[in-house]
């Protein structure tokens, strides 16, 4: 082996980026009414940024905890798809496999998939997952502590939510049927916002999948 693997620098810079993003999560979580301790514990034990932002977004706009948890978990279903695809790369011993599962997230999976060599793929998965875990939690802590002192709107932090979700969505739109599913989901949500309690429009957008499911089955060879 000569030198350090190329993925280490990328893993670190992705970690730094999610650290800044984690700080905005901390600020917004406190702004949505969570205590600093709740924001920090959430980042450690939930540890999936999209779901965490979704949960506090629903809470912040007046939704119930049940709809907050519901929409966060629906959004987390993509992690199940990631888990299936990463399973062959993860360690065999049960405890280490269970621990590695906690860092099955967008960033670690994307970095693993970007490698051609399986050994590099495993290394990139762990390097990215651990780097993001450490810096996301550090960011949350700093943001949550600063959160009480500033109004998130003055810094445009509320506009970070949709921007981040758009950045997560864009690469997924390349899949077949994804643009149609996105449009239908957006349409369901915008119609339901004035009609239903907060949180419901996002969960109801999952109905777009019923249409997608039919098309996925039709598209299958027999």
């Amino acid at each position: 082996m000569s030198g350090r693997p190329a993925y280490l620098a990328s893993a670190l810079s992705i970690g730094v980026a999610t650290g800044v993003y984690g700080a905005s999560f901390g600020v917004l979580a406190v702004g949505a009414g969570l205590t600093a301790a709740q924001a920090c514990v959430m980042s450690v034990i939930v540890f999936t940024g999209g779901s965490q932002f979704a949960a506090i977004g629903v809470i912040g706009s007046g939704g119930s905890p049940a709809t907050a948890v519901g929409s966060a978990l629906l959004l987390g279903v993509r992690n199940a798809a990631y888990g299936l695809s990463m399973a062959p790369l993860l360690p065999r011993p049960r405890l280490r496999r269970a621990l590695a599962s906690q860092i099955v997230i967008d960033e670690s999976v994307a970095m693993a998939r970007a490698q051609t060599d399986p050994v590099d793929a495993r290394g990139a998965f762990f390097a990215t997952g651990l780097s993001v875990f450490v810096l996301w939690n550090l960011g949350t802590l700093l943001g949550a502590l600063a959160g009480g002192q500033l109004d998130p709107k003055d810094y445009g932090l509320d506009a970070m939510f949709p921007a981040a979700f758009l950045a997560l969505l864009a690469p997924q739109l390349r899949q077949r049927d994804a643009p149609a599913a996105a449009l239908l989901g957006a349409l369901i949500a915008v119609v339901l916002v004035p009609l239903t309690p907060a949180g419901i429009p996002v969960i109801a957008a999952a109905l777009a999948l019923v249409v997608a499911a039919r098309r996925c089955r039709e598209g299958m060879p027999r």
């Binding site: 905890p65 506009a159 921007a163």
Partner: protein, 99 residues
């Protein structure tokens, strides 16, 4: 948000991540199922974008978040890094509100 809700969210999130590695092992889902699983987040993300951009409790409003999302879309289209995209959106909204 209560501690109970946070713990339930954590258990559910972990179950989703660990289901593949711990229960299914190396067996892979059928192509149709895999495609549907990969699509699950799409309508939800789209709905979240809409709700977080034009939603305000039970009302639809147009405010600084709309141009901020337009700037974010431009960043995503130009393949800007994630951090640049979210910071550009925040800066746009902050600037428009400060005017």
């Amino acid at each position: 948000m209560s501690w109970l809700a946070i713990v339930i969210l954590a258990l559910g999130s972990y179950a989703l991540k660990a289901a593949g590695p711990l229960l299914v092992g190396d067996r892979q889902p059928s192509p149709g199922a895999a495609r549907l699983l990969a699509l699950v987040a799409v309508p939800l993300l789209a709905a979240l974008i809409v709700v977080q951009t034009v939603g305000d409790g039970k009302h639809l409003v147009l405010d600084a978040r709309v141009p901020a999302l337009a700037v974010a879309a431009l960043c995503v289209w130009r393949r800007a890094p994630f951090l640049v995209t979210v910071l550009a959106a925040a800066a746009t909204a902050a600037l428009l509100r400060a005017l």
